[in-house]
Subunit: 326 residues, 2 copies
């Protein structure tokens, strides 16, 4: 654990809100001068830390920036996701960064955030707008014991986790649109891109890419998206703390990933169906060249959408663009 | 086309077997000295090229080395596979090289050979013995329009193509063991490793890795494999030309990849079933933690093995280790 994480942990855990420099120095086994230097550094990052000769240090406020040490300090212990967090000022796409880490053999659970992405992407290589410091753009490396056709379970679990995190931090009640969108009043506020490297019967690794439009203003979206996309700030009428939301997202993802890993996909699917806008609807799904129309019946045990077609067949759909029929 | 390819093409295409330096110089738009320099270079690689003052140049023999220009010259025009051929003296694994090319956006059809691999691998990360200049160790980049669960079709097509190439070059009659092995009298002589990068419903690229034990001697195999593996040389009693086999493999693969791409998987599957040792047999399949016993009935339209279990269910198996029950 880095010194910054330890200092932030100590400040957050202080019983009466303050910790003396002497206590910090003793607890962290470094000089008081070293503590002071780290505190100065945290201040320069925007942390509002009061230093009083009598009471010691007090954390009064944290900036709306993503700082790996701060996120680790807030997150605390998790099972898998977030054991290692890295924040980039700018990347092409956080999925690209994770892919490189995956090939280098890095363990599952590592999370990469970028304050901005120059080539953020959604499904099928579509562009994902990722303006600096307005959203959460993150990717997570997983190494699940799954067959490629079961990887949809991870998208389903991510959607339930993301929905809960947004609800807990904002009070908003998001819906889930199969397979990978989080909506508020029918407008997209977050998306999930699941990419994998696999042999035929065995996933080597999965990269979960997540984008949440947190504090974007209307002008941040390209004109063609303004009617179909929104942000948490726009819906709530005030900005949302990105570090707090980031930590909530990682914690909920860790919870749902553990549910999948321990064979409880059915409970995740039940929660998904409860909040899904797709089940029970007449829909048209475009997948590759095909256009399939039918009634979305339920989620299959692999995470696929079970669609009762016009001809009465039950089809398993593992991905595609869904349009609700009116 | 490189000068070497053009010279080899001209020598191979010469009507009376020989081409004069003057003709080559004129045809290739380079000086006679330049032609001579290339000929000397080809000789230094082991090409037996006769130069007679009256008749000109004649190709008498080619060495058993993999030379990209020579392979391109022999292969001629193909639809997709082998438009670009690269030969490495040594790599970790040819799949690794192709993966890098794939990420760099290289077009499908590029083929990478290595004379030896330091970390050749088979399914599930198993080691693949790849001694220098004794086999064909190659990988091919494909960008098919397939769903991840249909990628098994490519393994099936590769197996039929590889079987035909071996038969045409050696007269041996190999069998196919589902999903990825080529056998001669029950011993493994070649294998296919299919790896992919995908979104949930869409393959981004597939890497076909192929290993053929061409001229290995018994001592080249690790002791534990000597009873279950063999080489073409061991079965035939004499060495096989690796460049000729390499070209036959690429040509047959190109043919079967085109069959898949034009929707003729059923004809590939028919050919596969004709030479498969698995269909109609009682088998045990281990896939992940599961062990499934049953009768292999046929290939599904996605390339999966359709297994009638002991309990009468029909299961689709997309990969695993097959053991025939006696």
């Amino acid at each position: 654990m880095s010194l910054d994480v330890q200092i932030l942990n100590a400040l957050r855990g202080a019983r009466d809100g303050a910790v003396s420099g002497a206590d910090l120095s003793q607890k962290l086994h470094v000089s008081r001068a070293a503590v002071w230097a780290r505190i100065e550094d945290l201040r320069s990052l925007g942390y509002d830390i009061e230093a009083s000769p009598h009471r010691g240090y007090r954390l009064l406020g944290t900036p709306d920036v993503l700082h790996a040490d701060d996120l680790l300090s807030r997150l605390g212990k998790t099972k898998v996701i977030g054991r290692d967090i890295r924040v980039f000022e700018e990347t092409t796409s956080t999925n690209d960064v994770i892919e490189k880490l995956a090939r280098d053999g890095v363990k599952e659970g590592v999370v990469v955030f970028a304050e901005s992405q120059t080539r953020g992407r959604g499904r099928l290589g579509r562009k994902w707008t990722s303006p600096a410091k307005r959203g959460l753009w993150l990717s997570i490396l997983l190494r699940p014991d799954l067959r490629p056709q079961d990887a949809t379970r991870l998208t389903v679990a991510s959607a339930t986790a993301l929905r809960r995190a947004i609800e807990s931090q904002t009070g908003l009640k998001p819906d889930i649109k199969w397979p990978n969108d989080i909506l508020i009043y029918g407008k997209k506020v977050a998306g999930i891109l699941t990419e994998m490297s696999a042999e035929l019967d065995h996933v080597k690794y999965v990269i979960l890419g997540i984008g949440v439009d947190v504090n974007l203003s209307q002008g941040d979206f390209p004109p063609e998206l303004r009617k179909v996309a929104t942000s948490l700030k726009a819906e709530l009428g005030k900005p949302v703390s990105r570090p707090e939301l980031a930590v909530a997202v990682l914690r909920e993802l860790d919870h749902d990933y553990a549910r999948i890993a321990s064979g409880q996909f059915a409970t995740v699917a039940d929660e998904w169906e409860e909040h899904g806008t797709t089940i029970g609807q007449e829909v048209t799904i475009r997948t590759g060249d095909r256009r399939i129309r039918g009634r979305a019946e339920s989620l299959g045990e692999d995470g696929a959408l079970l669609l009762r077609t016009e001809h009465g067949h039950l089809e398993r759909i593992i991905g595609g663009d869904v349009t609700l029929e009116k």
